[in-house]
Amino acid sequence: MIAIQVASIIASFVVFFELADDDVVDPDAVAKMMEELAAELETLDKGFLRELIDAFAIVAEEDSGKVKEVVRNIPYRFYLEEALAADDPVRLAELEAIRDARD
C-alpha cells in the first residue's frame, strides 16, 4: 500500500518536471533533478523497488493521455528494471533487447 502512495508522490513530481514548459522550469535543471531522482530510486531496497515499479502501473490508471504515458513509463525511463536485475546478466540482456526493440 505504501508503495502506491510513494509512487503517486514521485509520479506527481515527474509529471510536473517532464511536462513543464521551458519558460517555467529551466530544462537543464529538470534534467539534473531527474538524474538525482534516478540515483535515489536505485538506492532503494530491492524488494521495495519491485513493489514501486508495479505501483507505477497502478497509479498510471488514475490518469489519462500524456500524463498516463509519463507515469507508466517511469520504470523504463529511469532504468529501474535494470537496477533490479543488476546481478542477472540474462535478464539484463533481455531488458536490453526489449529496449532496442522499443525504440
Partner: protein, 367 residues
C-alpha cells in the same frame, strides 16, 4: 656573370633531380642518386625490392644483382647478405623482397611478404636513424631552398625575357615540383601549395607588365600542364588537410541551485574547471532569435564537460542531449559526458546512438 653561372648550376641540378644523372662533362659518370623504389602509399624511398618500382632510370634487376648500387646510402648489395641491413622504419604488412631458399637461392622474390611489426623496447619507431632517411631529409632541406629560388627565378624570367618565358617557366615549375616531391612529405605539400599560389598570383601580373600577352597565355597554359604531368607523382603524397581553427568558445557562467549533500552532488561539483555554485554555459540560439544558455558542469580547455551520475532515457533527457549537441556544433567544440561507471557509459552510448549524436564523447571518471 654570377647570375649566368647560377642559372647553369640550377639547370644542372634540376636535370640531376629529374634524371638522376650527373650533367654532361662529368668525368666519373657515377650515378650518385637514383632509387626507383618507392612506397606506393606515401611516396617515400624504400629499400630495393620493397615497395613499388617507378621510373626507367636504369635500376633494373640485372643492375641490382650486379651490385651496381652497392654501398650507396649504406645499403649492402644483394649478394652481400653477411653485412647487417640498417633497419628502416618498420611498417605493418610492408611488401619486402624475399630471398628464396633451396634451389632458387639467390633469386629475388618480388612477391610482397607480410612483415610483422617488431617493437623494440625503448626505441622510437618513427625516428630511427637511417642513412636513406637522413639523405632524404638532407636533400629535402636543400631542395626546398631550390624551390624557393625557382619561384623567384620563374618570376624574373617572366618579366625580363618574353622569348624564353615558356621554356623557363616549364623548366622552373617542373624543377620546383620535383623539388617539392623530393622533399619531406609534409613540407613538400606546403611547399607545393605555396609555390602554386606564388605562380598563380605573380605570373599573370608580371606577364601583363611585360606586355607579352600571347606569351603570357602560353605560359599560363603550360604551367598547369607542367604541374599535371606530375600528378601521378603527387598522388603519392597524402592529401593535405587543412584543419580549420576556431576561436575558443565563449563560456558563460550561470548560477546553479544548491544541492543536498549527496554523492551525485559532489560528483558534479568535482568536474574539471567547475566553480562552486556556478555552471559553465554555452549560448544556444532559439528559432525565434533569442539566445538561451545551455548548462554544463565543467570546462577543460575547449572541451565542455557534463557529469551524469545516472543516465535517464526520458524526453527531457533526450531534449537536453540534443540541445547540447546543437550548441556544441554551433561553437565548433566537442562535449564530454563523464559518468561514474561502465554501466552508465553503455547507457549513454545507447542514448547517443538513438539520438544520432556524434559530437559528444563519454568517458568513465570514477567518483
Amino acid at each position: 656573370m654570377d647570375e649566368i653561372q647560377g642559372q647553369m648550376g640550377r639547370r644542372a641540378f634540376v636535370g640531376w633531380l629529374r634524371t638522376g644523372r650527373s650533367p654532361a662533362g662529368r668525368i666519373d659518370r657515377v650515378e650518385l642518386k637514383f632509387n626507383p623504389w618507392h612506397d606506393p602509399d606515401d611516396g617515400r624511398f624504400t629499400f630495393a625490392g620493397t615497395g613499388r618500382r617507378f621510373g626507367t632510370g636504369g635500376a633494373d634487376p640485372a643492375d641490382q644483382i650486379s651490385g651496381r648500387a652497392s654501398g650507396i646510402f649504406g645499403r649492402p648489395s644483394i649478394g652481400d647478405r653477411n653485412r647487417p641491413r640498417i633497419p628502416a622504419t618498420p611498417k605493418v604488412q610492408a611488401p619486402r623482397a624475399q630471398q628464396r631458399v633451396g634451389n632458387d637461392a639467390g633469386v629475388i622474390d618480388r612477391r610482397p611478404a607480410i612483415v610483422p611489426l617488431k617493437v623494440v623496447p625503448g626505441l622510437r619507431l618513427v625516428n630511427q636513424s637511417n642513412p636513406v632517411t637522413e639523405f632524404v631529409g638532407g636533400a629535402g632541406r636543400e631542395l626546398r631552398d631550390l624551390a624557393n629560388e625557382t619561384v623567384t627565378g620563374v618570376r624574373s624570367a617572366l618579366t625580363t625575357n618574353p622569348v624564353t618565358t615558356v621554356r623557363n617557366a616549364a623548366l622552373g615549375i617542373a624543377g620546383m615540383i620535383d623539388a617539392g616531391i623530393a622533399a619531406d612529405d609534409v613540407p613538400a605539400r606546403v611547399q607545393i601549395s605555396r609555390a602554386a599560389d606564388a605562380l598563380a598570383n605573380a605570373s599573370a601580373r608580371d606577364i601583363g607588365r611585360a606586355g607579352a600577352y600571347v606569351v603570357g597565355n602560353a605560359a599560363l597554359t603550360l604551367a598547369p600542364g607542367a604541374a599535371l604531368s606530375k600528378v601521378s607523382a603527387l598522388r603519392g603524397l597524402r592529401k593535405a588537410r587543412l584543419r580549420p581553427t576556431y576561436d575558443p568558445p565563449e563560456i558563460g557562467w550561470a548560477k546553479e541551485t544548491l544541492d543536498r549533500d549527496k554523492p551525485w552532488a559532489a560528483y558534479n561539483d568535482a568536474a574539471p574547471g567547475a566553480q562552486a555554485g556556478q555552471a559553465p554555459t554555452l549560448k544556444r540560439k532559439l528559432p525565434n532569435g533569442l539566445e538561451r544558455a545551455v548548462k554544463f558542469d565543467g570546462v577543460q580547455g575547449d572541451y565542455v564537460i557534463d557529469r551524469k551520475w545516472k543516465i535517464v532515457d526520458a524526453p527531457h533527457a533526450r531534449a537536453q542531449l540534443l540541445r547540447q549537441s546543437e550548441v556544441l556544433r554551433r561553437h565548433n567544440v566537442i562535449g564530454t559526458w563523464e559518468v561514474p561507471d561502465q554501466k552508465q557509459r553503455m547507457k549513454a552510448l545507447m542514448l547517443f546512438k538513438k539520438m544520432n549524436v556524434t559530437n559528444i564523447k563519454v568517458r568513465v571518471v570514477k567518483p
